[in-house]
């Protein structure tokens, strides 16, 4: 089993490990595939996917609200499924296809869900918005935007302190109708 202490640990053919000048804090070599681009990073093993995206890749669309999995501001997709990046260890997501809000509009043309949010004024301060939109796009893909009740239930992992919920739901219904 590879003991991933970054470049510092080598496992030889006999399975014995030889450690070079080990750093104080264990590091990991991680290749993250974000919005179809591969990034090779050397990270403190404690770095979350959210911090890797924001602090190491400059993708600040995903927001840090609670940092405890409770608010949904950090929602991104892994292999097409929505997850909260604050409770994901970056190293654990190596090899998985990560999509962030930046990846929704690669050519600068708004994704239909983004356009619907803008049309419906589905935000006030905007802090929760990238997470709401990533969740809303997933919601539609999951086939769960069929009723008002389902939209409420399956968007409940995204909190909005400004209370833009009615507009958020209207935007989702509209995007679905357009879609």
């Amino acid at each position: 089993m590879p003991r991933n202490r970054g470049a510092m640990t080598q496992v030889d053919a006999a399975g014995a490990t030889s450690t070079g000048a080990a750093p104080e804090v264990p590091q990991v070599e991680v290749t993250l595939t974000v919005n179809d681009t591969e990034h090779h990073l050397r990270l403190d093993s404690r770095v979350t996917l959210l911090d890797a995206l924001r602090d190491h890749l400059g993708l600040t669309g995903a927001k840090k609200g609670c940092d405890q999995g409770a608010c949904g501001a950090c929602t991104v997709m892994a292999d097409g499924k929505r997850v909260v990046a604050c409770l994901a260890l970056a190293a654990q997501y190596e090899g998985r296809r990560i999509t962030t809000i930046e990846g929704l509009a690669p050519n600068g043309e708004l994704h239909p869900m983004q356009a619907a949010f803008a049309r419906h004024d589905a935000f006030q301060c905007g802090y929760c918005t990238p997470g709401q939109i990533m969740s809303a796009v997933s919601l539609v893909a999951e086939g769960r935007a069929g009723s008002e009740e389902d939209i409420r239930e399956f968007m409940s992992g995204n909190l909005c302190r400004c209370g833009a919920y009615p507009n958020i739901r209207a935007a989702i219904r509209d995007a679905l109708a357009e879609g």
Binding site: M1, R3, N4, V28, S45, L87, L89, S138, N158
Partner: protein, 329 residues
Amino acid sequence: MHPFEYVRATDSDQAVAVVTEDPSASYLAGGTTQLDLMKDGVLDPDRLVDITRLPLGGISHTDSSIRVGALTTMEELAADPVVRERLPFVWEALLLGASTQLRNMATIGGNLLQRARCRYFRDPTVAACNKRSPGSGCAAIAGIQRMHAILGTSDHCIALHASDVAVPLTALDALLHVQGADGTRTVPLTQFYLPPGDTPHIENVLRHGELITAVEIPLLPAAARSHYIKVRDRVSYEFALTSAGVALVQEDGVIREARVALGGVGTVPWRAWDAEDVLRDAPAGADTFLAAARAALGGARPLPGTAFKVELAQRTLIRTLETVAGAES
């Protein structure tokens, strides 16, 4: 967060060997409990063994049971058509838990091993927590209670087991398949969790390094007519104040088989054996349901902050029984 070495396991035997040999090592599955508590400083392993690449996913069916690989996510399990059709209360409990994002990450093994939501347990600046530091006392008993247990508590701990899906799985006598350094064993879920007693830090019968490989859920005929009700402080995305999972077999208005478990009230997912005894061979109706609910909560030891749960849990159970009994075709 305490620094740790990240180890990506590719083989179950080696994962078990590494964690068994190293008292400061922990497994990492979906991470939604483990990382959360590491950030809060409640857990501080020196080595974290990522098991998500192990071949422990997948769901297989026989006529009499479903075998769910421990790494199956809550969303994956909820999407299984057999779960939806033949185990409706399992399906409901899965989808009423957490959020879609968390359910896409959270594994069934991790769910059953999730840790207490007690705010005193989760805050290392609070000195008194017997679960975190054995012998230090219990700040919750003298403090603010709400999301705490009233059944199975002790003078040393009142922390709740907050899993939703563990409630129907307990009612169904699900089995855990466990791999240890010395081989494999199976443990019935009803014997897996340990009430706090005077050792609240020991929560279940797993030995350090033992890996849950699968959860086997019997496909009982009773489960086809089952229901899970969860009562919360808000409509969605919240832990249960009280919950009930019920499966019934009825014949001409008489209950022939009853499976009943409660959430939100027990230090462990609570199998309501006393309620089942009242229900079996009794006429399905208000008097029976009330008697069953009273029996289920008979041993409750509420504190001021949890006193409301005694009545609420009974009403939750009665409503669930009514719904299942009323669904008789």
